[in-house]
């Protein structure tokens, strides 16, 4: 499968569209190409922009209606841009019986957003997940690919600020030309 690197600038969607076109063409003759192509699009842009949908439909020769139908069926695809950090609260059974709902409430309060929304600074998107298979460490939340285990509602503030800091450090490094 083609590896798609996340764009670090986040602005140049034009350039990304060209890159996407190459990816779609590389998948064109493979059976069942639509979903791998959409996965590549999602990881390239962080969401699936309308221009991308048009391009995919045209090159793969799939009706727009089908492409849209597939996107909206799967929870990993998003039609809206997501924040830099996707926070997913596990609501699997093990996490649920050990207080995942309270963590979700705390996150909503801290970030002042609801499930599926993105914070105004575009840093955090809040979502829920149905079991990440780390039940031995329940309750857990995932921030992008990081697992945070045994989370208590009171930990939420610290977790959020650690990611805010990460972002600041990165910006500082970029400014200094690292």
């Amino acid at each position: 499968m083609a590896k798609v690197e996340k764009c670090s600038c986040g602005n140049d969607e034009e350039g990304l569209l060209d890159r996407l076109e190459e990816i779609i063409i590389s998948f064109k003759d493979k059976p069942g190409a639509l979903i791998p192509v959409l996965q590549a699009t999602q990881s390239l842009f962080g969401y699936i922009p309308q221009e991308a949908i048009l391009k995919i439909s045209e090159i793969l020769n799939e009706p727009l209606q089908k492409v849209y139908g597939v996107i909206t069926f799967y929870s990993f695809f998003s039609l809206k841009p997501r924040g830099k950090f996707l926070i997913r609260v596990c609501l699997g059974t093990a996490c649920y019986v050990q207080g995942a709902n309270e963590i979700l409430t705390a996150l909503k309060q801290q970030l002042s957003i609801e499930i599926g929304e993105t914070s105004p600074d575009k840093l955090f998107t809040l979502d829920v997940g149905r079991c990440f298979g780390a039940c031995g460490l329940a309750p857990i939340i995932m921030v992008n690919d990081d697992v945070h285990q045994w989370v208590k509602p009171t930990d939420v503030k610290k977790i959020i600020s650690s990611y805010k800091k990460q972002k600041e450090v990165k910006q500082e490094e970029e400014k200094n030309g690292y």
């Binding site: 499968m1 059976p31 069942g32 190409a33 639509l34 979903i35 791998p36 959409l38 996965q39 089908k66 139908g69 597939v70 069926f73 799967y74 929870s75 990993f76 695809f77 609501l91 699997g92 059974t93 093990a94 996490c95 649920y96 019986v97 050990q98 997940g129 149905r130 079991c131 990440f132 298979g133 780390a134 039940c135 031995g136 460490l137 329940a138 857990i140 690919d145 697992v147 945070h148 285990q149």
Partner: protein, 620 residues
């Protein structure tokens, strides 16, 4: 140290044996080892930092030439991770922190004295040997035989442990019919949930004359509370590849897909490494081991839809569509992926295949019960002392899992129920703790074996709320294609919501049972057909809790928010802390006077309870 340097492209069975012999004799293979769990759970608990600490400590002590660090797959006891095992004397260390590594190296590896503070305590005793700990002693690790012993990113480790010998045996000495026969004799049943005999499934597909056939591995482990497939994918991925290659040979297929859920990035990464290595050394691809058998394998990533764990939905998803199930018959063995004969088994089932071929079907069948053979992996979670991954012979009593292996309940409350089988399963109450965990016995109690997720709940869990939780889950994940599932589960959830809010009526219970029967009988796929199970099983074993919610407007566990009452006791000294945090001004009282909560205004947020420093507030 890298034993991959002994690897070469393997052209036939003799060369496979020769490579294995070289590996077994190598200096690296026979060196002293420190095993560090690199399963998903231990990584999350920081095992990579432990590894780095070992690397530098061993180098400092000039032991890096003689002692090898092995990053292994999941050892099992996730709750007490990161875990480390010292190979030479089988010492098991729990909850290791980076600063403990110096002690392990200097005290144990150099001076030979066990570091007591890192041992796992059992009834105030400290047992050092892994094999003597109840958690391990009471298990029978067959499918997980390599998890915790080999590095999953090195094919050489798998080959040294006897890997790909079963494939070699099948390709060089068995016909496809014999291979299917061996699986049939073993009595192996699908480990994904339904328990369909694997041999029967394979023989249907084998008999088809179609030239194009497919073999699929269902690694879309969506049941909340189940993580055995994840651990096999992460800890012993080659066993899945080998099992699939054997299956492909048996049914006459040359292309396989593994459908892995996107929630498991590490599993995808390690499986891809394994596939690439198997290809590089000739164990999949064209003309495998010089026998003329071809087999290619590709990963397809899921995109976050629970229903795709259903076989026809999974197939539809690989084809590039919305993952909606289709009616059966025709069954996939007849018309599956791209309308071609297809065999679909889950991860654990495939991982059993090399084992049963090596042992022989008849010997494999010696473990287990009359109708369910072999071992089963369970994922223990919830309020249990050692949550993690365990493997026992099918038919082992639930009590043994919860108490002997899992160490019992982690809180000071009593066992209430174990939820087994996820959203399709049910709850086992205390009076049935001795139920043997096999397909038939669990069915009799209204639960299912499922994929093996086992969530232990203590008395603080409300069983009506548990039923509501699962209904919400299936409601959310129902694909919407058929009405009974889409609408039926929605109506059932409305009723249970009502009961949890104290607005239920006695006739609601009957209504729930009626709806459940319709949803079970009329839904298109397994998701819908089994969706009412959590409600039916809690109604069967915990009916009095439903009645309390409806008749007495009471939730005995104080979980159902609308039924909770907060009260301030006489010990209140009037510090006003609760009054200040109450967001709806429901608390009244003068300074230094006993405060009172106005229940009509109270929104049961619990802020007062967590704020009170004098334990003066109770909820019930």
């Amino acid at each position: 140290m890298d034993i991959n340097k002994y690897m070469q492209f393997i052209k036939n069975a003799e060369e496979l044996q020769a490579v294995r012999n070289t590996l077994l004799k190598s200096k690296e293979y026979n060196s002293e080892k420190v095993f560090i769990c690199a399963g998903g759970g231990c990584i999350a608990s920081g095992s990579m930092k432990i590894k780095d600490a070992f690397v530098s400590q061993l180098a400092n002590s000039k032991l890096n030439e003689t002692i090898d660090i092995m990053e292994t797959g999941c050892l099992g006891p996730c709750a007490i991770g990161p875990v480390v095992v010292i190979g030479k004397d089988d010492t098991f260390y729990q909850k290791v922190r980076a600063q403990d590594v110096k002690d392990i190296v200097e005290q144990h590896l150099i001076a030979g004295i066990v570091v007591e503070k890192l041992l796992h305590p059992v009834d105030e005793q400290k047992i050092s040997k892994k094999s003597e700990l109840p958690f391990f002693k009471n298990q029978d690790k067959q499918v997980l035989r390599n998890c915790g012993k080999i590095n999953p990113t090195k094919i050489s480790d798998y080959i040294a442990a006897g890997g790909y010998q079963a494939l070699s045996k099948v390709l060089s000495s068995m016909t496809s019919e014999q291979a299917v026969q061996e699986v049939t004799v073993s009595g192996l049943r699908g480990r994904g949930g339904a328990g369909f005999p694997t041999g029967t499934k394979w023989s249907f597909a084998r008999k088809s004359q179609d030239k194009e056939k497919y073999i699929l591995c269902n690694a879309d482990e969506g049941d909340p509370g189940a993580f055995m497939d994840r651990s096999i994918l992460e800890g012993d991925p080659h066993s899945i590849i080998e099992g699939m290659a054997i299956g492909a040979y048996a049914i006459g297929s040359s292309i396989g897909y593994v459908y892995v859920r996107a929630e498991y990035p590490l599993a995808i990464e390690r499986l891809q490494i394994a596939i690439d290595q198997a290809q590089e050394f000739g164990l999949i691809g064209n003309n495998i081991l010089g026998t003329g058998f071809n087999f290619d394998l590709e990963i397809r990533k899921g995109s976050g839809a629970f229903v795709c764990g259903e076989e026809t939905a999974l197939i539809t998803s690989i084809e590039g569509n919305r993952g909606e199930p289709r009616p059966r018959p025709p069954f996939p063995a007849e018309k599956g992926l791209w309308n071609k004969p297809t065999v679909l088994n889950n991860v654990e089932t495939f991982s059993n295949i090399p084992l049963l071929i090596t042992k022989g079907g008849a010997q494999f069948a010696e473990t287990g019960t009359e109708k369910s053979k072999g071992t089963k992996i369970f994922a223990l979670a919830g309020t249990i002392k050692i949550s993690g991954l365990v493997e026992v012979p099918v038919g082992t009593p639930l009590r043994k899992l919860v108490y002997d292996i899992g160490g019992g309940i982690s809180t000071n409350k009593k066992y209430k129920a174990a939820q087994i089988g996820g959203p399709s399963g049910g709850c086992i109450p205390a009076e049935h703790l001795d139920v043997p965990l096999d397909y038939e016995s669990l069915n009799k109690l209204g639960a299912i074996m499922g994929s093996g997720g086992l969530i232990v709940m203590d008395e603080s869990s409300c069983m009506v709320d548990v039923a509501r939780f699962f209904l919400e889950f299936v409601q959310d994940e129902s694909c919407g294609k058929c009405v009974p599932c889409r609408e039926g589960t929605a109506r059932m959830k409305q009723i249970v919501d009502r009961i949890c809010e104290g607005k239920g009526e006695m006739k609601d219970i009957e209504e729930l049972e009626k709806l459940a029967a319709t949803v079970t009988n009329a839904s298109l796929c397994g998701l819908g057909q089994t969706a009412p199970n959590p409600v039916l099983s809690t109604l069967r074993h915990f009916r009095e809790e439903y009645i309390e919610h409806i008749r007495d407007k009471k939730c005995r566990t104080a979980v159902c928010k609308e039924l909770i009452v907060f009260e301030i006791l006489n010990v209140c000294n009037g510090c006003q802390a609760c009054k200040k945090v109450c967001p709806v001004e429901a608390i009244h009282g003068e300074k230094k006077q006993h405060h009172i909560i106005n229940t009509d205004l109270c929104i049961r947020c619990g802020l007062c309870l967590s704020t009170c420093k004098f334990d003066a507030i109770v909820k019930y």
